[in-house]
């Protein structure tokens, strides 16, 4: 038996309720994009002010590790997309597995990023007044790491939140809460996860690749 869609009393039909949930999520995603937009503006400004330091800083970051992190996140997004697909075709067990894989990639990403952070802490490649890294001494070198830590830190917080959401959705999916009629939560959780992924897709080249 799959759960039937029953609209809450103030909606005229389940279809309208799903539409509302989807639209609300997109509006929320717009707020997330604008939240990051301010930091991207900061990145642009300081990159143009301290171009040399941003080039040096970018070269110093571990691009190989970041590439693995990118691959991990994309794998997770694929798993979540499959979970959405399985939910629509009423295969809850597989959907739960997909969501769990997504959550696992979130944890793996955070662990890998933790490795990056530990390296920077050891080197003293830290923001503002904590900056003691001897290798890059150009003007605004600490600003690169300020921007780096703020951008990746805010993003990692979102990965953490997204991981929590995926674990919760996986638990619900395992209990058979979702079906091809009641999939809004999986869809919205998935959208959130894809956004978190997408933001990383911008961070990855800006911080690690271009020079």
């Amino acid at each position: 038996m799959h759960p039937e869609a029953i609209a809450e009393s103030h909606f005229s039909s389940p279809e309208v309720q799903r539409h509302a949930a989807r639209l609300g999520m997109w509006a929320f995603l717009a707020t997330e994009i604008l939240l990051f937009a301010g930091l991207f503006v900061g990145y642009m400004e300081y990159r143009s002010l301290y171009h040399e330091s941003f080039v040096q800083g970018g070269k110093h970051l571990d691009a190989v590790l970041a590439t693995i992190e990118t691959a991990v996140l994309i794998t997770g997004s694929f798993a979540v997309a499959m979970a959405h697909h399985y939910t629509l075709s009423d295969r809850s067990g597989r959907a739960a597995v997909g969501l769990l894989i997504g959550a696992a990639t979130g944890i793996a990403f955070l662990a890998l990023h933790g490795v990056e952070y530990i390296t920077h802490f050891r080197e003293g490649a830290l923001p503002g007044k904590y900056y003691t890294f001897p290798e890059i001494r150009t003007a605004g070198a600490s600003m690169f790491f300020t921007v780096y830590f703020l951008l990746t830190g805010l993003h990692s917080l979102h990965v953490l939140a997204g991981t929590g959401v995926l674990v919760w959705l996986a638990a619900l999916a395992a209990r058979g809460t979702f079906s091809h009629q009641t999939y809004s939560a999986v869809e919205n959780g998935g959208l959130y996860w894809h956004l978190v992924d997408l933001i990383w897709i911008f961070l990855y080249p800006l911080l690690y690749l271009i020079s």
């Binding site: 009393s9 103030h10 909606f11 005229s12 309208v16 539409h19 509302a20 639209l23 609300g24 509006a27 929320f28 717009a30 707020t31 997330e32 604008l34 939240l35 990051f36 937009a37 301010g38 930091l39 503006v41 900061g42 400004e45 300081y46 002010l49 301290y50 923001p127 503002g128 007044k129 003007a139 605004g140 600490s142 600003m143 300020t146 921007v147 830590f149 703020l150």
Partner: protein, 543 residues
Amino acid sequence: MSPSAVEAALPARSYLNAETTLRSWLLTTDHKRIGVMYLVLILISLFVGGMFALLLRFELLTPGPTYIDAITYNRFFTLHGIVMVWFFLIPSIPSVFGNFFLPIMLGARDVAFPRLNLASVYIYLIGAAFTLAAMIHGGADTGWTFYTPYSSTTATTVTPVLLGIFILGFSTILTGINFIVTVHTMRGPGQTWMRLPLFVWAIYGTSIIQVLATPVLGLTLLLLFVEHAFKFGLFDPARGGDPLLFQHLFWFYSHPAVYIMILPGMGVISETVSCFARKNILSYKAVAYSSLGIAFVGFFTWGHHMFVSGQSNFDSGAFGVLSMFVAIFTSIKVFTWVGTMYGGAIAFKTPFAYICGFLYFLVFGGMTGIAVATISLDVHWHDTYFVVAHFHFIMVGASLMAFLAALHYWFPKMFGRTYPEGWGLVSASLIILGFNATFIPQFLLGNMGMPRRYYNYPEKFQTLHVASSAGATLLFFGFLIIFIYLVIALKYGQPAGDNPWGSRGFEWNTSSPPLPQNFEKTPVFEGQPHDYSTPVLEVSHAS
């Protein structure tokens, strides 16, 4: 007393008496009750913010120290700004009247996400608690704009204030998302976009700004918090940071925020003017689309706050011209309202008095806005009382007029009883007079060179300062009268009947106060809103 007034009685069942326990209020998901809860919270904020204003005006009665020291004065004007901007003006009309009337106007039983709606109230309360805690610990002295690098180094309790406003932002965002989705998905049968009441259009435009601009403020405050706590140097020139980046980010939110404050007010005026002129709105589409125009252009004007901050002349010129675009959309509205009044059968009731006050403050404040958007003039007026008077005229004077118009217009619908019309007109006159008396001297002071936020001033400015303080006192008494008669009217007012104004607004088709589920059966929308072209026999204005 007309016969219909004798027959009018409160309906047996309404959202107010369906459940009466405290729990039923605190855990309600009914948009009407949430609107009423916001009304209470917002009136408390207005009182707190207003008290700070009065304390400031008393201090400024004499040059030099009057009764508080300079640091306390700085803290008072900061808290006045913070409370008034974020805890009163921004949530005022959307969260109170938007919550209460948007679903009813659309023919919906509730907003799309009622639980998020309730959550927004509690988030507002948590944000307020942080800010209150900061106040008790002495409060910040940065001004409501938190300009860096001062704000990242001040020893006053700035961090809980930042957190408080950051948290409050989520309340605004949730309300905005809720309204956007409600307008898109919850419209009743026959309710097309071109039949939306004009208040809904304005709230819709406002919600878009709330959703797109508030996260930028959230980020900016978060960065400032990090800056203050950990000294990352992002905005600190001593560490290679750029304080102008802060100003850009701050005004990217805070200029659109001005339209968060004024657009709902414009919606109220569009909604009410045809009722009191008993005429169809001159051009529905012009008003509806100009709301969206303001919401759009409002995002590209922030640089006019930074003419003297060191941005390039080209930027300043562009921002100056873009700022004037707002005036085009605004004047489209103003001409439409005045054109609607022209030749109408005006019923000069309290809400109409506030409509007139709104037009006056909007035009006066708007014209001085054009003046300060002109770079060469702004260099003279920047950071003087002229700017203070300008933005108080437009974002406080006009918004407040609209808030009070809405409060009086919808009071009978919300609570089922009428307020005393005579006292309404008395207090409206007092408030309009008091507002002028407070801020016209400030225009003059600013033009003579009085800088804003100063504790001290030369003796020759004293007369105008005293006049301004006297005006503020007049304002206080105006509000006191309103508060007293509305509280009395809540219990002893005449039952209003379903439609005391004879309004054609959709919300007047329900009972006053409305049923818990808004309607007996889902209404079907067949005509345009604000349609006064055919006479209705039972029209009788409340007396």
